[in-house]
C-alpha cells in the first residue's frame, strides 16, 4: 500500500501571538513550531494501514520554508519512510496555490491513499485536502473520525453537526483526519535516530499566484475585563440578575 501524507509546520497551540513589525505576519521570536496536530492523526493512520497491509511506503510531503524539514523529520521519526519538501518562502493565504503544488507532486506517485490533517491550526482554512483531491480527480472524504479500508473500498465516518455521515468510497482517495481518528504514537528514541538517515528530498518550487491579498494581520479586540459578582453559591442570584437585566441574555 502506497500512502502519502501532507503535513504543515504550525505554531504550537499554546503560542501567544504577537504581530511582527510588518503588520502582516506573526513575530516568530520565542514561538515553538510543531507538526500540525491534525497531521499527527493523518501520519498515524497511514502508518497503521501500511502495517496492516504488511508492506508499502509512507511518503510525507510538505510545502514550506527550509525549516519545514524539521517537521517532516518528526513524521519520519513516527515511522514514515521518506519525505519531500516543496521548498518556498512564499506564503499563500489562498489555499488553492498550495493545493496545486501538492497535486503536482502527488499526481505521478500512484498513491492508494493521500492523507491530510483536516485543517492547519494556523490558517484554519480546512481546504487543501479536498482541493488536492479535486485537482487529481479522486474521491475525498474530509474530517474523518473513523476509517476502515477493505481492499479497494473505504468506509469513513465524517463528523458533522450533531452526528456523523457514513461515506463509502473507492481507492485511490484522499482523506482528511479529524481528532479521534486514532491515538498518534510518540516517536521513540530509535525512531528519532533513524529519521535522521531517512531520505528527504528538497525541491525548490514557485508558489502559483493566489486570489487573496493580505491587507493586514491584527490582534482581535480585547475583551473588556468583567467583574466577579461574588463568591460561592450565594452569588448565584447576583449572577442571574446580571444575565437577565444587564446583559439581557437569559
Amino acid at each position: 500500500m502506497k500512502i502519502a501524507v501532507c503535513v504543515k509546520r504550525t505554531p504550537d497551540t499554546e503560542t501567544r501571538i504577537k504581530i511582527a513589525s510588518d503588520g502582516k505576519s506573526i513575530d516568530e521570536a520565542g514561538v515553538k513550531f510543531v507538526l500540525n496536530p491534525y497531521d499527527e492523526y493523518a501520519v498515524e493512520e497511514a502508518l497503521k494501514l501500511k502495517e496492516a497491509a504488511g508492506s508499502g511506503e509512507v511518503v510525507v510531503v510538505s510545502v514550506g520554508a527550509a525549516s519545514a524539514q524539521e517537521t517532516i523529520r518528526n513524521a519520519l521519526a513516527m515511522g514514515a519512510d521518506r519525505g519531500v519538501l516543496l521548498k518556498t518562502d512564499a506564503v499563500s493565504l489562498d489555499p488553492l496555490p498550495t493545493a496545486k503544488l501538492l497535486a503536482g507532486e502527488l499526481k505521478s506517485g500512484e498513491y492508494d491513499l493521500i492523507f491530510f490533517g483536516k485543517l492547519a491550526i494556523d490558517d484554519y482554512s480546512h481546504a487543501v485536502g479536498a482541493m488536492v483531491a479535486e485537482l487529481l480527480g479522486m474521491p475525498a472524504v474530509s474530517s474523518v473520525s473513523d476509517l476502515t479500508v477493505d481492499g479497494s473500498v473505504g468506509t469513513a465516518e465524517r463528523e458533522i453537526e450533531g452526528g456523523v455521515e457514513v461515506v463509502e468510497f473507492p481507492l485511490p482517495a484522499a482523506v482528511t483526519a479529524e481528532k479521534g481518528l486514532n491515538e498518534p504514537r510518540y516517536p521513540a528514541l530509535r525512531g528519532i535516530m533513524m529519521a535522521k538517515k531517512k531520505p528527504l528530498d528538497v525541491k525548490d518550487v514557485t508558489l502559483p499566484e493566489g486570489g487573496l491579498e493580505l491587507v493586514a494581520l491584527t490582534l482581535p479586540p480585547q475583551r473588556q475585563e468583567g467583574r466577579i459578582v461574588g463568591e460561592g453559591p450565594d452569588a448565584v442570584p447576583a449572577l442571574i440578575d446580571a444575565l437577565r437585566n444587564e446583559a439581557k441574555v437569559l
Binding site: D94, E165, G180, G211, V229, A235
Partner: protein, 323 residues
C-alpha cells in the same frame, strides 16, 4: 452587473438557520455591486424555497432529488459549479459548517478561483474585503479578493439574518447531470441516541473542564445545560482524558463557538481554549481559583466551589423558567 450565488443548507428537508445567515451575507455584497442574490437550495424532492425572499433572496433555485437528500460531495460541488457557470457571479457564499467546509474547497478548485474560508466579516467597496480569524482567533487577517469569482465560507453566527423585502422568485433546477454516478457516496447520517444540539449551533453553551474532577460529575454540566437550554461543551483536558467525545471540545483543536452566552465551569482558560470561545457575546466563569486566566475574558465570574454553585444556578434558572 455580477450577481452573488448563495448556497443554502438543509437537514431532513428543513433549511438550517445558517441558510438565512449566508443570504444576509450575500445581500451585503449584492447591494454594494448592484447585482442580485441568487440562492441555491439542494436537497430531497420535498425541499421548498418559498419565503426566502424575506431573508434577502432575489431568486431561488431549488434542486430537489432523492440523489441529493444527504450531502453528496461530488454531486453538490458539480451542481454548484454548473450554476456558477450558467450565470455571471462575482462570489459564491456558503456557511463554514461541516458541509460548507467540504463543499467550498471543491467548488473553488473546480472554478480555479480563490477561497476565503471561515470569514467573520465581509464588505464590498473597492472590491471584496473579508476578515477571518488566524491562529484560531488569536489574530485576524484582513484580505482583499483580487480575482473573480471567489468562494467565501462564512462562519456560523457571524452574520445576523435580515428581514428583507425581495419578492424571491422560486425556480427549479437539476442535479448536475455529468456526474450522476458519484464515487464517494454518503450512505447515512448517524446521530447519537440522545440527540444533542451541536456546540457550534447553540445560542447557549455550558462547558466543563478538569475542575469537575471525575467524568461522572459532568452530570452537573448536563443538568445546567438542560435547565438553561444549552449545548454541552468540554475543555481539551477532559476530552483528552476520554471523559467526553471530541465533538464537544471547544478550543483550537476542537470547535470554535460564538454563542450569545457561554458558561466556563471548572475551566482555567488555557490560550487554546480561549481561542475557541472568545467571540461569545457574554462569558460566565465559575472557578475556585480567583487567579484563573478565564476570569480575564469573562464578563461575569463567581469564585468558589462549582459543586455548590452549579446545582444552585440550575435550580434558580428552572424556577425563573417555570414562572
Amino acid at each position: 452587473m455580477a450577481d452573488i450565488l448563495v448556497v443554502l443548507e438543509q437537514r431532513d428537508g428543513v433549511l438550517k438557520r445558517v441558510s438565512h445567515e449566508v443570504l444576509a451575507a450575500g445581500r451585503v455584497l449584492a447591494d454594494a455591486s448592484g447585482g442580485q442574490v441568487h440562492a441555491l437550495a439542494i436537497g430531497g424532492p420535498d425541499l421548498s424555497g418559498d419565503g426566502l425572499g424575506a431573508f434577502g433572496a432575489d431568486r431561488v433555485v431549488v434542486v430537489g432529488d432523492d440523489a441529493v437528500k444527504l450531502y453528496q460531495p461530488e454531486l453538490y460541488s458539480a451542481t454548484v459549479t454548473d450554476q456558477v457557470q450558467s450565470g455571471e457571479y462575482s462570489a459564491v457564499i456558503l456557511s463554514a459548517t461541516a458541509m460548507g467546509r467540504d463543499l467550498g474547497p471543491r467548488v473553488a478548485a473546480k472554478l480555479d478561483c480563490p477561497l476565503a474560508a471561515d470569514v467573520t466579516e465581509l464588505s464590498s467597496d473597492d472590491g471584496i474585503v473579508v476578515k477571518r480569524p488566524a491562529y484560531s482567533g488569536k489574530a485576524i487577517y484582513t484580505l482583499r479578493v483580487t480575482s473573480s469569482p471567489v468562494v467565501i465560507a462564512v462562519r456560523p453566527n457571524a452574520v445576523a439574518p435580515i428581514d428583507g423585502s425581495q419578492a424571491g422568485i422560486v425556480d427549479t433546477g437539476q442535479v448536475a447531470s455529468a456526474v450522476r454516478a458519484a464515487r464517494a457516496v454518503t450512505k447515512a447520517i448517524k446521530q447519537p441516541e440522545r440527540h444533542a444540539v451541536d456546540v457550534t449551533e447553540a445560542a447557549i453553551v455550558v462547558s466543563g473542564g478538569r475542575g469537575l474532577k471525575e467524568p461522572e460529575h459532568f452530570s452537573l454540566i448536563e443538568d445546567l445545560a438542560g435547565a438553561v437550554g444549552a449545548a454541552v461543551g468540554a475543555s481539551r483536558a477532559v476530552v483528552d482524558a476520554g471523559w467526553r467525545p471530541h465533538s464537544e471540545q471547544v478550543g483550537q483543536t476542537g470547535k470554535t463557538v460564538s454563542p450569545n452566552l457561554y458558561f466556563a465551569v471548572g475551566i482555567s482558560g488555557a490560550v487554546q481554549h480561549l481561542a475557541g470561545m472568545r467571540t461569545a457575546k457574554v462569558i460566565v466563569a465559575i472557578n475556585k481559583d480567583p487567579d484563573a486566566p478565564i476570569f480575564k475574558v469573562a464578563d461575569y465570574g463567581i469564585v468558589g466551589d462549582l459543586f455548590e454553585i452549579v446545582p444552585r444556578l440550575a435550580d434558580e434558572i428552572r424556577k425563573i423558567k417555570e414562572n
